[in-house]
Amino acid sequence: MSSNQQNIILKTEGLTKHYGGVRALQDADFSLTEGEHVAIVGDNGAGKSTFIRQVTGVEIPTSGNIYFDGNLVDFKTPADAKEAGIETVYQNLALADDLDVPSNIFLGKEETYFNLGPFSFLNEKKMYKKSIDVLAKTGIKIPNLKIAMSNMSGGQRQCVAVSRSAGFASKLIIMDEPTAALGVQETSQVENIIKNLKEHGIPLIVISHNLRQVFDLVDKIWVFRQGKIVGCVETSKSSTNEIVSLITGVKLGVEEEASFI
């Protein structure tokens, strides 16, 4: 490894995923440096979520290499990726609706008094206190943490899902459409969490359809089209038009005021 690669936190080479005959992702070469915030944009079916699923161990790639934190990694399960330090907020929220806030925040990484394998007793007090701290860090107010998630508003649920990932010191955070289902106020809350992460130097990959948000939040934009990476541009040197033409593959005839929602 050369010295300039040392600050690369995530890198993929020729990452490919086929579902039977469907080529969902082809030869994706991606890289992310320490402290960098990037967005992945693209039309539906462009391979954005597929890319994320390979990186986070939810699916196993057909071919290609993933380097994380300087090492070649081979995640078999989401737990492997989590252990390596990748936290993910999924599009479908991935919350257990019948459980309360602390249980969701600590799902899969419960605090216990002592280790008895699956029969370890939970340290609920510690999880409750830590949950308050985690939520406070993200500036989210939820009046009662001990009620089931199904009793909460979409925004509160999203905020719990985001802070679950953001609240734990991790090496990389990935968010898949974090604000897709949110109102204006809740969107700005989530954006604040993201800005907060930037200040703490935690690298982030966000998938978004909202170009206004993307330009507002991130350093670099990776554009996917039809399963391939078609471009990587720095937000400070780019325009909405350029991104839209990359997303759609149409170079000419894009109106000046075109926006992509």
């Binding site: 399960t77 989401p78 737990a79 252990e83 609706d97 799902l107 990484k109």
Partner: protein, 339 residues
């Protein structure tokens, strides 16, 4: 007036979710009490012997129901309970025979300490549960099919084990386990242990999480396959324990034992508030559900009502409990949409 209503509502909300079912239990007991005075001329509840028999009768179902409750909370189902009772009863009994009986199943394995047949019976159930769980986790077939297969196969295995003949002449040490208050004590201990495990440990939290949203549990890093196998194995082991208690109580075992017990156990869980959609339910609810089944059974016997009516009413109660559950579920979902 409105203030009073509000007070009542907030007070009601603070009660444990089992309160409603408890009211049903109480209401049923009172109904039989009143009907008893009218038609039979005696009290239903103030009769120690009847109460003891009532609880004894449901202890075996209760032990199975504790396991089934955990499976249903995980959004699974276990139909094999009754057959596993027969299989483990016959396995346990075959290792608990007296040396005085000349035609023992294993003539060299008689007069063993009682723990050996007990462990063998529980082990038989555990292995069957492990097989069901592994099938569900590894092949991805629906739990309904896997445990239906086990229901048929285990009954077959129970008949094959001793060529369909009953196993009797069991040692006193072994049969003592089924006498007196022992079955009740075993049931209550099992219920307490699993109440604690479900409420306070990682095991319980993960069971609820998988039942609530399997995908969320998976991406949170929970080993779903392993967990499913553990839960089905525990349910199998508990059915095995129920089989041991049955054999010991009946002082013999035969392949026809425990017929339809799985349905009573599932009923008890569902009546007790366990959601068939997974994610919700508690052992304490199942305990009350089991008692409700007990009250219905003894109440009908007490009123000398034809046993066929009893099954018809039980069926209606089960369907009613599921309708109620579905209604509750819809209400929760609609609430989501409103926001």
């Amino acid at each position: 007036m409105i203030q009073a209503q509000k007070n009542f509502k907030s007070w009601y909300k603070k009660l444990p979710p089992e309160f409603n079912i408890f009211l049903v239990l109480l209401g049923m007991a009172l109904l039989f009490e009143i009907l008893g005075w009218i038609f039979v001329g005696q009290s239903f509840l103030i009769n120690k012997r009847r109460l003891i028999i009532m609880i004894l009768q449901v202890s075996v179902i209760g032990i199975i129901a504790v396991g089934v409750t955990q499976v249903i909370i995980m959004a699974g189902i276990d139909l094999s309970g009754g057959s596993l009772v027969a299989l483990s009863a016959i396995v346990a009994a075959s290792l608990a025979q007296n040396s005085t009986y000349s035609k023992a199943v294993f003539p060299h394995l008689t007069d063993l300490p009682f723990l050996i047949p007990v462990i063998a019976g529980i082990g038989a159930g555990l292995i069957a549960g492990f097989i069901s769980g592994s099938l569900i986790a590894r092949t991805g077939i629906p739990a309904f099919i896997a445990t239906l297969g086990m229901l048929v196969s285990a009954r077959g295995a129970a008949a094959w084990y001793n060529n369909g003949k009953p196993v009797s002449f069991l040692s006193d040490e072994f049969t003592n386990l089924g006498q007196g208050a022992w079955p009740v004590a075993i049931f209550l201990t099992v219920a307490l242990v699993f109440h604690i495990l479900m409420r306070y440990t990682k095991y319980g939290k993960h069971t609820y999480a998988i039942g609530s949203n399997e995908e969320a549990a998976r991406v949170a890093g929970i080993n779903i396959k392993r967990h499913k196998i553990i839960v089905y194995s525990i349910a199998g082991a508990l059915s095995g324990l129920a089989g041991v208690v049955t054999a010991s109580r009946a002082m013999s075992a035969q392949a026809g034992m425990g017929m339809m017990y799985e349905l009573d156990a599932i009923s008890a869980a569902v009546i007790g508030g366990t959601s068939l959609f997974g994610g919700r339910g508690r052992i304490t609810g199942t305990l009350i559900g089991v008692l409700i089944l007990g009250v219905i059974t003894s109440g009908f016997v007490f009123l000398r009502i034809n046993a066929y009516y009893q099954d018809m009413v039980k069926g209606a109660i089960i369907v009613g409990a599921v309708i109620l559950d579905q209604y509750r579920n819809k209400k929760l979902k609609n609430k989501d949409k409103d926001i």
